[in-house]
């Protein structure tokens, strides 16, 4: 107790850390691996241990000018060089430039006869030789445990491994030792007894036929670290870990407003549209026009010269472009201009975490101001509610931290009460727009209303929602007091099927809309605004 108090007063020396250069890992570890100390990376077969080791060295050599030694006990240098070439790591070049030294240690018990006392001085000499050759600051031993199968005298082995760790520490080598995961224990052969400064566990789990890689820091002596399981992925850029929960609730709140792309919808939102950086949920039954709202939003963003990212889980980009052209939205020019990126991904392609990971990467690379996810409900299939909620929370935090305005669409099951089915995520959402089927007077119409919109006095009207070849439109609300929300029959008649070629009638209806809008503002919206303002502030 007193010790820690003293430490606080005298500004304790921070534990030195060596950045790994691996995306996200440095954030999770608060700066990297402990400098001059061994770190154990353990996990089952195929979970990316060797990859992590290699990337640690490659990034160290290329980004931090810290040459490294890779001592492989399982794979030959040729194999490793080939394996990581797909990630863009040129080990041969690094070796030639004396930034990296690959040594292959072959241990085969059947070739070795033991007779009497021995030690592993040969290993030390090789390591020392390799370190001297490149002036190494980093060492990776992959996997040291292979020794245990190579020698029968475990007593000697344990003593020598303990000596090796001390030896590496004395030489101030930042070391990564990979290890197989044992049954029930973290590591087979109990190596963690010797290396207890930092232990990272990698995991490769399959749930619902979808695999996700995860990373967890079990132990990091002398340092705070994230304790969660973080998903990570290995792709053509190497490893990236996603420190998703690290954002927290301290993002900025912008007062800037941006258009939804539908003027009538903006009208419902104080005539200004969404807040920048807010999260919008558009939920509705099948065919209620969710994608159209998303597309309008994207188009509006592109017109403002803002980058937009559209993730579609249902339609291919070509199909979406075609369909949107039918309501007068042409997205292709924006794609060509590089302002809009489309990604059609099947939800079943990856697990939730992986989707999140990919989204992170896309956002980091493309840096959009606006993101549309259409629809998020498809991601839910197979996974538990809690998982999707936590994923969405992290996603929203991430987007908000980057001041990205997001529109999620969500498919609600008809028959089920929409507000109920959305309970899990609605609390995370800033603006919630609900689309609804309304069956009135022998017609099936789309209705739209704003369930909630944080920080603004939104309208309470249920408006008829039309998809015309001029884009989405909202029919002005009827005069207050009417029981049928869509009693404006003239507007109702002016449905999409009639809209074409009926310009005259349209103009008339627009005039009427204007009148109706004024009336509605006078009669209904004002008291409502006051009421809403009271609620919201």
């Amino acid at each position: 107790m007193t010790k820690s108090a003293n430490g606080k007063n005298g500004a304790p020396p921070q534990l030195k850390k060596s950045p790994t250069g691996i995306e996200g890992l440095d954030e999770v570890t608060g700066g990297g691996l402990p400098t001059g100390r061994p770190t154990i990376v353990c996990g089952g077969p195929g979970c990316g241990k060797t990859m992590l080791g290699i990337e640690f060295l490659v990034r160290g050599a290329t980004q931090f000018d810290e040459p490294g030694v890779f001592m492989a006990f399982e794979e030959t240098p040729e194999d490793i060089t080939q394996n990581v070439a797909s990630l863009g790591f040129d080990l041969q070049d690094l070796s030639a430039r004396k930034k990296l030294f690959l040594d292959y240690v072959h241990v085969e018990r059947s070739e070795i006869q033991e007779s009497g006392e021995y030690d592993l001085e040969g290993l030390f000499i090789r390591l020392q030789h390799a370190i001297d050759l490149v002036g190494a600051k980093r060492v990776v031993l992959d996997t040291l445990e292979a020794l245990f199968s190579g020698f029968s005298n475990q007593g000697i082995l344990r003593a020598e491994i303990r000596r090796l760790f001390r030896w590496l520490k004395d030489r101030n080598m930042t070391t990564v030792i990979t290890a197989e995961r044992g049954d029930g224990t973290l590591i087979r052969y109990g190596l963690e007894e010797y290396v207890s400064d930092c232990v990272i566990v990698l995991d490769h789990r399959v749930a619902g036929q979808l695999s996700t890689r995860r990373l967890r820091i079990v132990k990091y002596r002398g340092s705070v670290h994230g304790t969660n399981e973080y998903p990570f992925l290995i792709d053509e850029h190497g490893i990236s870990v996603l420190p998703i929960t690290s954002f927290g609730l301290n993002h900025r709140a912008s007062t800037q407003r941006i258009s939804s792309g539908i003027p009538d919808l903006d009208d419902l939102l104080e005539r200004k549209g969404y807040y920048r950086g807010s999260t919008v949920l558009v939920s509705g039954t099948a065919g209620s026009g969710k994608t159209s709202i998303g597309s309008h939003f994207v188009e509006a963003a592109c017109k403002r010269q803002e980058r937009s990212l559209y993730l579609s889980f249902e339609e291919s980009s070509a199909q979406l472009a075609r369909n949107m052209r039918s309501i007068g939205i042409d997205l292709e020019p924006w794609v060509k201009k590089g302002l809009l990126q489309f990604h059609g991904i099947r939800p079943s392609e990856h697990g939730l975490e992986m989707h999140l990971a990919r989204l992170h990467r896309m956002v980091d690379q493309f840096k959009p101001r606006v993101v549309v996810l259409d629809p998020i409900t498809n991601l839910i299939s197979g996974d538990g509610d809690r998982e999707i909620q936590s994923m969405l929370m992290r996603l929203i935090d991430f987007l908000k931290a980057n001041q990205i305005t997001a529109v999620f669409t969500s498919l609600t099951v008809s028959g089920k009460h929409a507000e109920q089915s959305e309970v899990g995520i609605s609390s995370l959402i800033d603006t919630w727009i609900l689309l609804r089927e309304l069956e009135v007077n022998g017609e099936r119409n789309r209705g739209l209303y704003v369930v909630k919109s944080r920080g603004m006095a939104h309208s309470n009207q249920i408006r008829q929602f039309l998809l015309t070849d001029q884009g989405a439109k909202l029919v002005p609300a009827s005069v207050g007091g009417s029981t049928a929300p869509l009693a404006d029959s003239a507007a109702q008649r002016n449905g999409p099927e009639r809209a074409r070629g009926q310009k005259k009638q349209k103009r008339r209806s627009q005039q009427r809309s204007a009148v109706a809008r004024i009336r509605s503002t006078a009669n209904q919206e004002k008291p409502f605004l006051a009421k809403a303002a009271g609620e919201n502030r």
């Binding site: 040594d103 240690v105 072959h106 241990v107 070739e111 070795i112 006869q113 033991e114 007779s115 009497g116 006392e117 021995y118 030690d119 592993l120 001085e121 040969g122 290993l123 000499i125 090789r126 020392q128 030789h129 020794l147 190579g150 020698f151």
Partner: protein
């Protein structure tokens, strides 16, 4: 080559080329060298040559023969290559390792 099943006092024509890897003059290394000389004298007549490699002086040589343990005795000739690690104090095991005796005849060799 036909493998002949025969009791194996080795044939006289066999020539042994041996390398003993050490790291400085440690007691273990000295013991190993003494044990090796004794075994050679008793079992190989004069058909052998011992090369001593000090890895402290030539660390790069450890790679070629995949040396980890010290001391390590490598039999380069006759093929195949054999390795025996330790101070060679267990003569029976050295003989097995060098193919001078089949394991069956050595009690508790495996």
């Amino acid at each position: 080559m036909k493998r002949k099943v025969q009791a194996r006092p080795r044939r006289k024509s066999q020539f042994f080329q041996l390398r003993l890897y050490v790291a400085g003059q440690t007691p273990k290394s000295l013991t190993a060298l003494n044990n090796l000389k004794k075994i050679c004298k008793e079992h190989m007549d004069d058909q052998y040559r011992i090369e001593i490699i000090d890895l402290l002086a030539n660390p790069q040589l450890a790679r070629g023969d995949q040396i980890l343990a010290i001391p390590t005795l490598v039999r380069n000739l006759p093929p195949p290559i054999r390795k025996i690690i330790g101070d060679l104090s267990n003569t029976e095991r050295v003989l097995v390792g060098l193919d001078l005796r089949t394991p069956d005849t050595v009690a508790g060799a495996l």
